[in-house]
């Protein structure tokens, strides 16, 4: 159990998921988040947005942070706090996210000129989630904290 799980407040409910750094396992995180969000009462389109954001965050952690090293884990914390769901994705890698990627808005015209059409993940996460924060975890890896609010 991670330190974050141990520190959960009485009003919070926390689920921790640990995945190998292998592409495809992001589906497990997507479905865990979707299952919890549906249980909380999120609408289908919001659940779909959440799944996309979680997929991008876990894929980034596998590919960039953990460099596809299957022995390294991606830790996904799902915290229910009142009417919000907080999803934190942490890798164990030492390749930090380039600050430029966090703030830039990708241009389709530029992307189409490149062989690699990727690079949309961080922007997509920021568009889809209500709050997004990129930090370094106490363990040293990258951490993406995403919040989605339940609107009643």
């Amino acid at each position: 159990m991670s330190d974050d799980t141990k520190r959960s407040k009485p009003s919070e409910k926390m689920i921790e998921l640990r995945l190998p750094s292998k592409l495809g396992y992001e589906r497990v995180a997507m479905d865990a988040a979707a299952s919890l969000a549906s249980r909380m009462g999120f609408e289908t389109d919001r659940v779909s947005a959440l799944k996309t954001a979680v997929s991008e965050a876990v894929t980034n952690a596998i590919e960039h942070g953990n460099q596809h090293d299957e022995a390294m884990k991606v830790v996904v914390l799902l915290t229910v706090r009142g009417d919000e769901l907080i999803v934190s994705v942490t890798d164990q890698g030492h390749k930090t996210i380039d600050e430029a990627y966090v703030s830039r808005v990708p241009q389709i015209s530029e992307a189409m000129k490149r062989d690699d059409k990727g690079g949309w993940g961080i922007w997509l996460i920021q568009e889809l989630m209500d709050e997004v924060e990129f930090t370094t975890a106490p363990s040293g890896g990258n951490q993406v904290r995403m919040v989605i609010h339940l609107e009643r």
Partner: protein, 148 residues
């Protein structure tokens, strides 16, 4: 093609309803490694039962007590360990009543979980955890598809 052993871990609070997340996580993992839908349905039912047992009996519905799941696959064997952290041992019913006997009032209508898990999994083991608590181990083996 699957190479080597892969595992995932899940920790969740002892709150009824959260077993749905566990069922979905294990089902997605099983689907990813190639189990067919019928076996995934069995697996979801058995894992759900194991989680409810852990929440209700092992952890006595105390939300701050976690339920631990470790699921692993080595290319042939798919194992799911569901562990509680409580001190209430899971009762093993050696001669369970039939559904007819239960309906006739000879026993509680509940208490079918262990039978169900034993029937749905290829192997079913209940043992005390190394730490306080119980561990239910459910195992399924990947079946060879017959080619005609």
């Amino acid at each position: 093609m699957h190479n080597g052993q892969t595992s995932i871990e899940l920790i969740f609070p002892s709150i009824l309803g959260y077993e749905v997340v566990a069922r979905r996580v294990v089902a997605t993992f099983a689907d990813f490694v190639g189990f067919d839908q019928a076996r995934i349905d069995d697996l979801k039912t058995a894992v759900g039962e194991a989680c409810i047992n852990a929440i209700e009996h092992g952890n006595q519905l105390q939300p701050d007590l976690p339920v631990y799941i470790t699921s692993s696959y080595d290319g042939h064997r798919f194992a799911v360990d569901v562990s509680d952290t409580g001190t209430n041992p899971l009762a093993i019913i050696k001669e369970p009543k039939t559904i007819e006997e239960k309906l006739a009032g000879a026993a509680s209508l509940r208490g079918m979980g262990m039978m169900l898990m034993a029937a749905l999994a290829d192997e079913f083991i209940v043992e005390p955890s190394a730490a306080p608590g119980n561990t239910v181990r459910l195992i399924w083996y990947q079946r060879e598809v017959a080619h005609t």
